[in-house]
C-alpha cells in the first residue's frame, strides 16, 4: 500500500543466520553469485567505503601525526556547536513545513486527472533546474522589502508590513522548503495514489463525516509516507548549504557551509572531516529514528495480535 523508500531490513535470528551462511557458502550457486557480485562490491569499496574510512581517519589525525579527538572537540564547541544546532533546527523546521505543505499539494494533485497532475508536478519541479544566481534574484524580487509579496501586503495595509522575509531564518526556511517540496510531494503523491479510496466510501457508509474519515482512515493510511518524507527532507536538509547561504544571514550558517569554508578557504581538512563524520552520524540517527518509528508501529501491531 504505502510505497516506502526506506524499507527496514527484516530481522532474522542470529544463530540460524550463521549456519545458513556457512551452508550457503559451500554451494556452487553462492560462489558464482559472489563472483558476479564482485564488480558492485569493488564499486562500493572504491566509491563509498574507502572515502568514508579516509574521512574518518582524517577526522582523528593530529596535526603532527598520532590520533586525537581534538577536531571533534572543536566541532562540538563554541561557534561550531552553534552552527550545528542551527543546522538541526533549520532542518527540523524545513522538514515539518515541507511535509505539511507537501501533504496538501500532493493531496490536491492526487485528486487531479493524470494530465493535470503531471503539469502541476512539472511546475513544482522545474524551478530547481534554474541557476542559483537567477533563483536568488527571483527570490529577492518576490520576497524583498520592495518585492511582490511585501508590495501587496503594504498595499493591503497589513499591519507590520513590509516584513523581512530574506536574510534571516524565515528566508532560509522559505528557500529550503521550496527545494524540499518536490521530494515530499512526489513521495506523498505515490503513497496517496496507493490508498484505496473505497475505504473512505466504506467509512462514509458507516456514517463517518469528512473530518473523521480523514483523521481515522486517511491519515493513518498515509502515515508511513509522512514519516518517510519527514526523515528524508530532514536528512537532505542537513547537507544543504547553497540555499541557506543565498537566503539567510550570517546567523543561518549551516554545517555544510562550515565544511566548505574549512576545506576551500582554510585548507583545514581534519576539522572538515570531523564535521563530515558528525553529519554522517546525524544522518544515520535520522534513519534509525525512522526504523524506531517502524519498530514501535510493528510492536504495537504485534501486541494487538497477541
Amino acid at each position: 500500500m504505502a510505497g516506502s523508500v526506506l524499507a527496514p531490513v527484516p530481522a532474522s535470528t542470529a544463530p540460524a543466520a550463521k549456519s545458513r551462511v556457512r551452508r550457503s557458502l559451500r554451494s556452487r550457486r553462492t560462489r558464482s553469485g559472489l563472483l558476479n557480485g564482485a564488480p558492485i562490491v569493488v564499486y562500493m569499496l572504491v566509491l563509498f567505503v574507502y572515502p568514508i574510512l579516509s574521512t574518518l581517519f582524517l577526522s582523528v589525525k593530529g596535526v603532527h601525526g598520532g590520533l586525537t579527538l581534538h577536531w571533534y572537540a572543536d566541532a562540538l564547541s563554541g561557534a561550531n556547536l552553534a552552527v550545528l544546532l542551527t543546522t538541526l533546527r533549520i532542518s527540523a523546521e524545513t522538514s515539518l513545513i515541507s511535509v505539511v505543505i507537501g501533504f496538501l499539494l500532493a493531496y490536491a494533485v492526487s485528486r487531479l486527472r493524470p494530465l493535470w497532475a503531471g503539469l502541476v508536478m512539472l511546475i513544482i519541479v522545474v524551478p530547481h533546474f534554474i541557476s542559483a544566481l537567477v533563483r536568488t534574484y527571483g527570490w529577492i524580487i518576490l520576497l524583498g522589502d520592495h518585492g511582490v509579496v511585501n508590495s501587496v501586503l503594504v498595499d493591503l495595509h497589513v499591519p507590520g508590513a513590509p516584513f523581512q522575509l530574506l536574510y534571516n531564518e524565515i528566508g532560509v526556511i522559505i528557500g529550503t522548503t521550496s527545494v524540499m517540496l518536490p521530494y515530499t510531494v512526489l513521495l506523498l503523491y505515490a503513497v496517496m495514489r496507493g490508498v484505496d479510496r473505497r475505504l473512505l466510501a466504506a467509512a462514509a457508509s458507516m456514517g463517518a463525516g469528512r473530518l473523521v474519515m480523514f483523521r481515522r482512515v486517511y491519515l493513518p493510511l498515509v502515515a508511513p509516507g509522512l514519516v518517510n518524507a519527514t526523515v528524508l527532507s530532514f536528512i537532505l536538509c542537513l547537507g544543504y548549504y547553497l540555499t541557506p547561504a543565498l537566503m539567510g544571514g550570517a546567523r543561518q550558517t549551516v554545517v555544510a557551509a562550515l565544511i566548505d569554508d574549512e576545506v576551500m578557504k582554510q585548507n583545514q581538512w581534519n576539522g572538515a572531516a570531523a564535521l563530515g563524520v558528525i553529519l554522517l552520524v546525524l544522518t544515520f540517527a535520522g534513519l534509525s529514528l525512522l526504523r524506531l518509528a517502524r519498530a514501535i508501529g510493528a510492536s504495537a501491531r504485534q501486541r494487538g495480535a497477541a
Binding site: 552552527v83 536568488t136 530574506l166 547553497l242 547561504a245 550570517a250 550558517t253 566548505d260 578557504k265
Partner: protein
Amino acid sequence: MKEPRIDRRIFLRGVGGVAAGITATSLTGCGTGTSRSAGAAAGGGGGKKTIVVRNSGGTYGDANLKAIYEPFTKETGITVKVVNIEYAQMLAQIKQGRPQFDVIDDSMADFVLFGKENALQKLDQDRLKNFKGAGIANNLVTPYAIGKNYWASVMAYRTDAFGGKTPQSWADFWDTKTFSGNRSLQSQDADLPELEFALLADGVPMDKLYPIDVDRAFKSLDRIKGSVKKYWDTGALPGVLLGRKEVVASSVWHGRLDALIKQGQPLAYQWNGARRQSNGWGIPNGAANTDAAYQLIDFSLRPSVQAHFATLYPMGPVVPAAYKQLPASVSANLASSPEHLKSGFDLDVDWWIKNQDAVIKRWRGWARG
C-alpha cells in the same frame, strides 16, 4: 544532493560576472592533467613554441586574451594556452614536479602562500626589461611575484537614498542616522573581512591601519551590525541588493556595478577609503618554458599593453606610465589612478597571511552572534 557551489575566490571577479560567479568545481582532482602537449614541451624553433598560462577565466580571462595573449602571439609567434585551475590543484601539480602551466596569473596573496610552499621560482628582474624604472609599487614586487593589475573594494550607494547627500567616507557609511537605510558588507566567504573599513570609520588614519587593531575593528563593526542586512558572498550580490533597494549602501568589488550604472540605475562608487589589491605574475618550479614565461610577463608590463587591458577591463595598471595613454574618463574609473592612489590604501598581504585564520574564526563567531 549536489548544488552548484558559489565560488568565492577573489580572482573570479568580472564585470558581467554572472558566468564567473557560479562554477561547479570539484573538491578532488589534484594531481591530474600533468601531461603536456608535445608542442609545449618542444620549445626549440621560435614559430612553434607554446606557453601555458593559468588564470581565473571568465570575463577577466577574455580581457587577458584580447589585450595580452593575442598581441603577444602576433609579436613573438609563441602560442598561448590557458588553464583555469585553482590554488590547491596548482600546488599539487607543482609538487609533483611537472606543472601543466608555465606562468601563473593569480592574486598576490596566493603568491605569498605559494612562496611558503617553495613552489615558485625566484624572479630574475634582470630578464624583464620593461620592469626597470617602470615605477611599480614596492609592495607589488616580491622575490616570487610581480604585480599585474590593481583592483579594489570600494563603497557603493544609491544616489537617490539620502536626499541629495553623498556619503564621503566609511565614517558616513557607519553613520546610519544621517545616512539611514540598510547596509551590506562583504562576507568572509567572499574575501578577507573588511576590518580596515571598520577602523577608518572609527577614525584611524589610512596610513596607520596596519598592524590592524582587531579588537577595535570588531568593536566598530558591532556598531554597524544592526543595519547590515546581508553579508554578501558573491561578487554579483551587492549590485542585486542595491538595485532592488534591499540596501542603500554596500561595499563592492569595483567594476561590478558598471553594467547597472550604464543601464541608468541610480548607483555610484565612493573611492575614498578604497582597499586596493592586485593580481600578479609568478613562475612555478618545474615550468617547461621559463623563457617564454619571462617574455610574456615582460610584454604585459609595457605601458601600452597595461593601458589596453585597462580599457577592456576595469582593473588598474601597475605601471604609472600607462595612464599617459588612457583618456581621463577611463582613468577616473581605475583603482590606481593618481587620485585614487591617494584616496585609497593597499591591503597588507603579509599582515593578512599571518592573521587570516584567527580573524576569520573570530569573524565567523561574531557574525553569527
